[in-house]
Symmetry: C2
Subunit: 501 residues, 2 copies
Amino acid sequence: MDDIKQSLKVVRLGIDTYKEAVIYIREDSFVCQAEGFEAQARIRVRFEDTHIIATLNTIKSNILKVGYAGLSEHAIELLGVKEGDEIYLSHPEPLLSLRKVRAKIYGNRLSGEDFTEIINDIVAGRLSDIHISSFLTACAGNHLDQEEILGLTKSMIDAGARIAWPSQLIVDKHCVGGLPGNKTSLIVVPIVAAFGLIIPKTSSRAITSAAGTADTMETLAPVDLSFSKMQAVVEKENGCLVWGGSVLLSPADDVLIRVEQALDLDGEGQLVASVLSKKVAAGSNHVVIDIPIGSTAKVRDRESAEIISNYLTKIGKKLGLDVKVVYTDGSQPVGNGIGPALSARDVLAVLQGSKDAPQDLRDRALDLAGHTLEFSERVKSGIGRKMAEKVLSSGRAWHKFQAICEAQGGMRELPKAKFTHTVTANLAGKVQAIDNRRIARVGKLAGAPLAKAAGVDLHVKVDAKVEKKQPLFTVHAESQGELEYALNFVKADGELIQIGE
Amino acid sequence: MDDIKQSLKVVRLGIDTYKEAVIYIREDSFVCQAEGFEAQARIRVRFEDTHIIATLNTIKSNILKVGYAGLSEHAIELLGVKEGDEIYLSHPEPLLSLRKVRAKIYGNRLSGEDFTEIINDIVAGRLSDIHISSFLTACAGNHLDQEEILGLTKSMIDAGARIAWPSQLIVDKHCVGGLPGNKTSLIVVPIVAAFGLIIPKTSSRAITSAAGTADTMETLAPVDLSFSKMQAVVEKENGCLVWGGSVLLSPADDVLIRVEQALDLDGEGQLVASVLSKKVAAGSNHVVIDIPIGSTAKVRDRESAEIISNYLTKIGKKLGLDVKVVYTDGSQPVGNGIGPALSARDVLAVLQGSKDAPQDLRDRALDLAGHTLEFSERVKSGIGRKMAEKVLSSGRAWHKFQAICEAQGGMRELPKAKFTHTVTANLAGKVQAIDNRRIARVGKLAGAPLAKAAGVDLHVKVDAKVEKKQPLFTVHAESQGELEYALNFVKADGELIQIGE
């Protein structure tokens, strides 16, 4: 569609709306007069050869001069503009993808092309958060069948980059998530790589948790590697532990997860497409997927786990992916540390074979490494775990981990928090339950993962006997304000750790 | 939940996000460090005894000083703050209503209490647009049964004010909408009131259309009446034509409609609850509901109309409302003028009995007035339209209309647009179709309803024979920029008026 004649000059207001493109225009401009009545009016914004669709917010003050328009940080990034650049506005074309979303709402099946239409509009920023929320809601509640999940997964893969490795067997390991302190990847990768298999592991940063695997790894080594640097690391060491965001695998997934988190909604179809699209894009062909089951984990019962497992293996197969699902205990956090540096501390203890290493983390990592090793022809079914244990106990995994850190840019010293506060039991008894979601939230409110040393250090686990006033956990923060902000939540929410008779 | 200790001072950035509460906080504050990673992080904001939940946007520039927070216009209004006031932040409690929305997504029935929980959170601004979008999507696609629609309607009524009239028979008239230029209310109300029935009509302003009934009426008289002033007008003249927004009837509806518009989604349950909640809250007990059916109207076919009609009458009955549904032709705009002043011009022509009054508008208004009159014991079934015609032809309706305008604050002169452009036929033939949605959009882009004189004046109707270069419609605007903005849309979208052999 043609631009309107008048251009506007870009002003950087410095407003971060996270991943939503917003344009700020004076209310006395005719664009606002025409569009501004409408909530979430969408405007096409062009700079040179690039255009985006942005949501209109009108400005009633003098933070903008006549002839200027503000853009949110995300819009500036998408358009590649700087202050003073001239942008042109026009009406966005009607979106075919919205019709597809409506078809889904009314119970129709979507084809692969339909999903491609929707996913491409999401990646290009043509759908607003309101539209994405509607799409996710329409697909949740078991409204996608197997064929549709396959179509969704394929369209998510095609929307991003895809890595090809010059090897037959490329293994990977993934956890469906929801368990704070779960950092088995940092132990599994060096075991598997030391054994001799290729495991190019990409991980995400935290979204609502206190630390993603990439955040934890980043306290020990750089994770923000270019694609060619990542290849070099894998070539040299058989494995890597890098941040997936820098290599643009399945970019739609990042947008979808963001809105899902706001809705606190995890559709099974979406979850399956999210996991498989990232793994296929990363170039792996054999994957162990860990599904922790627990009432405060992402997957709450065995029945849901089996539905997801069935989809993962069947759809994975159609995508050339050999998927082995492992159910694990998801009733409480893994290890003691929750938060990047505290998690990394636990990992080092396991790798170095310290006496005080958290046994649950060690066991879990060995199980998963064992299953991964069994993808190799050299490892018979049932003996993977034993082989993994051998690699770990011999120090070869610790050696490999250090080598990977060196290859990624050099090993780092762990930071320590300046401010801590220990929460104690207000009665004697036995620990009945630890709420994964709330304990993760405490870590996050204390500043993790941005503040690397922040988080929660657990002193008890489920079934532990505690005395009155015995320490339950310590909150770590890098500033007094963050510590208080987290403790404010702890205080109001007494049942983080449930103690009973 | 307790506030965190530190307060922030309010700054009015003048950002209008329409009806969404947004708080802008510097990224170097610990609140942003803890929450800002998350998209759509929600913060509880307290001022004195009032609190709201706002969405967090982080600020990376110097438009805010340390210790200050910006609020969107809507948040300022909800909290009742002014610049410099001290606000306190805390974590919002988990929302029970979100659990109810999730239950609906997974196919469960919602109870009346569940809807009350959701609607109350919507009215209080505790749900973000993302959440509301999810709720609307989960309910659309015929996912609400009759009992659920009743529950939703009741909760919407209870969330707002309710008018009681000291009379037995209170009639009303409503159109389900979607037809540009449809302003029959301005003719029906004076006919019915002149006949002697009580008809306290409240109308909405335009949301995505070029003129709501309240916008059209406002070009002829004030519509922004207080509740007591409205009562006085009805007492004196039997009827009124005021804006419903000033009397706070079914406030949830305004929020829901806004998000529905962004989604371009009209769930039947939502539509029924929207209409009935407004009518019951306005205190009427006998209502004629006009459902225009047409491929570009809100209701696209007879089948959908019958589903909606069935719900309206049955659920209406349970709420003490006698509903009579009338199906009308929804294939094209009503009358010639689209936009506030152009619509009002058509209305005056009909009321004054001008020779060039649009016959379709006159017919439609007489039909609806006839049905409304038949609610009276004095009017036998089948003769309502004749009686209505008598009241109109005699000049009594025109007299009554003037009296209502005077009672509402005085009759006004119609404004005229300074800038016009006439679009002509690019081939000879017969008019096959006029796209209601797109022609309304042209009027809106030309500045209507904010610019009262702006809009579209149609020169042809469906089935008219046209010569090449014959005028099809004239776009009216109050500024050159708005005229161009609208014409830019017309140019790109050739098929507004479809001409065939």
